[in-house]
Symmetry: C2
Subunit: 175 residues, 2 copies
DNA sequence: CAGTGAAAGTTGAGAGTTCAAGTATGGTGC
DNA sequence: GCACCATACTTGAACTCTCAACTTTCACTG
């Protein structure tokens, strides 16, 4: 996936780029394949059953777990690892569905809360089982306990590496 | 992410759904976070440097590795784990960029080849180093050899589970 | 308390994706 | 060689996401 054996071009950082070994390539391809297939699978399942993509479902879940079923937009975006812009659009859509409602923040007039409505709780309640099933069948049922543990550790490391944890305010991607 | 502790609703298959344990939830969240962040990160890097999203880059790579730098649409779609529809749109875009060209298949008048052009090879040559760097920094540089091996195995299993390998003709997702 | 820069959130346009439907050709059986 | 269904690929509309503004409010400084 990453190869292109004879490529003397300049690396992002230094001279000769460190190409992936064959084994690394196998790993990387497996990763890309699996994540593509899985994201697709879950999106389809949820779109069909619950009428929303996987990310949106995740947003509802985060709201459901929050103190008064509400979260500031920025915080929700941070939790879900998406941009505020994306969240804005998403919440607009979820609002149309009646699953989320916006509320002004009293202490900060710029702020908005996204609040999970009763219908939102309901849609979650109805479709959580199907979603858990899908995740189980695709992932947990196929892995040994050791592999599950490994997966958690590995993904934790990767995730941490990509979010300068508590560094910048917004999503601290590049620059 | 999947929880909703007291939810007596009916599972997709049977009675009481098998909720994720706390530990499973941690693993699943780490997975979702990492994949979201990483896909985003790579998309950004490639969009900025090469002017295309990660998937498109992957398509060019697959073509570059194919026999005469060409692949039938369906086969390319299967390799890349995307639908033919998505591929159609993607190739249309890549064609506009001059990186891919379509060619009729002589033996099957319905068929089309996607062919990597010289400019396509070039764009790949120029941006492969930066992409490999990004992948290394985000993934391989952070994992021990054992973890890399584990990751490959785990992702292989998940990927295999989602594609009934050589079963149906098209992407054999659900139903 | 005006001036300034950062932060919170939204918006619109453009790009990408999905879904359902459509065209055209291939293969099979009669 | 014709009916019939599967296969190969495309298309357009609806939806989602990104990116770069833009608005409003906050916090700090002099």
């Amino acid at each position: 996936m990453e190869c292109m054996n004879t490529a003397p071009a300049s690396s992002a950082a230094a001279g000769e780029p460190r190409w992936l070994t064959d084994e690394e390539q196998r790993v990387w391809r497996a990763y890309v394949d699996a994540t593509t297939l899985l994201e697709d699978h879950l999106d389809r399942q949820l779109q069909r059953d619950a009428g929303m993509p996987h990310v949106y479902y995740g947003l509802l879940v985060k709201l459901a777990e929050a103190p008064r079923r509400r979260l500031r937009m920025t915080e929700l975006a941070k939790d879900a690892k998406i941009t505020r812009s994306r969240l804005s659009h998403a919440v607009a859509r979820l609002e149309k569905n009646g699953w989320v409602r916006r509320e002004d923040c009293p202490s900060d007039k710029r702020g908005q809360f996204a609040v999970l409505t009763d219908e939102g709780v309901d849609v979650l309640r109805r479709h959580a089982p199907g979603h858990v099933d899908a995740v189980r069948q695709a992932v947990f049922d196929r892995l040994t306990p050791e592999q599950q543990k490994s997966l958690g550790e590995i993904m934790g490391i990767v995730a941490e590496g990509l979010q300068p944890s508590e560094a910048g305010a917004d999503l601290p991607w590049l620059r």
